[in-house]
């Protein structure tokens, strides 16, 4: 494969109605229209999806590994934030 100057896109696929879009991977494409089509060919060819989003990777602002402790550590010891004190009714699927 030759190297291309095409930008990188992040692909999000919704696998079923009612579920949210989930990050599936990334790909190269010259523009958004073709990114969507490439995503269809790469990530939904085995019937994985009902909807696709593509986002330019450059548009994503990510947290940095250096900020890991201040970002995430404080949440570890606060069990009262977890909804673990409720009984889950039968038949609830997507929780």
């Amino acid at each position: 494969m030759t190297n291309t100057d095409w930008p990188l896109w992040e692909v999000f696929v919704r696998s079923r109605r009612g579920l949210s879009h989930t990050h599936a991977g990334s790909l190269h494409a010259p523009d958004a229209e073709l990114a969507l089509r490439n995503a269809r060919d790469l990530y939904t060819r085995r019937g994985e999806g009902v909807s696709i989003w593509v986002v330019p990777s450059s548009a994503i602002t990510a947290s940095s590994p250096d900020e890991k402790d201040p970002f995430f550590e404080p949440a570890a010891d606060k069990p009262y934030r977890h909804p673990t004190f409720y009984e889950i009714p039968d038949g609830v699927q997507h929780l």
Binding site: T4, L27, H28, P30, E33, L34, R37, N38, D41
Partner: protein, 240 residues
């Protein structure tokens, strides 16, 4: 789906179109300009292979038909057997053929003839093939000076193979003239948007191609068949 009643000549013609183009597109595996496009072309090839299997199975044993027929027994259009060339050639061939196939299958799917069931399933696949070819035609035609020139050359080179698509096929109940009108209109529109002009060369008559449906094929087809068939012929009945 009742498949036993399919007219043999028409099923062979459509089945061979799909089989041969599928093999040509498969030749891009490992060679496509980018990984993403390689998968796209392989997906299209697999769609076509699926259509070929259904169609050829109604005529006889699909393996025998694909791997043991001689060149003269194939009934595909000469357009689909043309070599891949550069990417623009492949896209021009896709544009010409998938537009034809989409218009044809949409008509067959809307009718109540023997191909209606098969066409109804295939028409969705083919709609995507057509979209893929149109998207790339627009980008190559209206791209750089080089891509425009290559796309123009490809459209010109394959133009003389396009008249054959609209010759009547025995057992295929469609209005060829209306089909051709729609095809010309659609191709003209796509080429115009791609800043390309409709090629001026002839599409029918002595200086054009068009005997693939009678079993007369172009020189590159023999070599393609040799590659496609040699494994089966070397190891008859082999399977995995």
């Amino acid at each position: 789906m009742t498949t036993t009643a399919l007219p043999t000549a028409a099923a062979l013609a459509l089945g061979d179109d799909a089989l041969v183009l599928s093999h040509r597109l498969g030749e891009w595996a490992g060679h496509a300009p980018v990984l993403e496009e390689e998968v796209a072309l392989a997906n299209i090839a697999l769609d076509l292979l699926g259509q070929a299997r259904v169609l050829l199975s109604t005529v006889g044993d699909e393996d025998e038909l694909a791997y043991l027929r001689e060149e003269r027994a194939f009934r595909n259009l000469q357009l689909v057997e043309q070599p891949n060339g550069d990417f623009a050639h492949t896209i021009a061939r896709q544009l010409y053929f998938s537009t034809y196939q989409h218009l044809l299958y949409a008509r067959l799917a809307g009718g109540d003839g023997p191909f209606a069931g098969l066409a109804a399933k295939a028409v969705k696949e083919v709609a995507y093939h057509r979209d893929h070819a149109e998207q790339w035609t627009l980008r190559l035609g209206d791209g750089t000076e080089l891509s425009h020139e290559r796309m123009r050359r490809a459209c010109d080179a394959l133009w003389r193979f396009t008249g054959e698509m609209f010759r009547p096929v025995e057992g295929l109940d469609v209005d060829s003239e209306a089909l051709e009108r729609d095809w010309l209109e659609s191709i003209g529109e796509v080429l115009r948007r791609a800043t390309l002009s409709v090629p001026e060369g002839p599409r029918s008559g002595a200086w054009t191609a068009g005997a693939g449906r009678e079993g007369l094929h172009t020189e590159p087809f023999g070599r393609m068949l040799a590659e496609m068939q040699h494994l089966h012929r070397s190891h008859p009945g082999a399977s995995w």
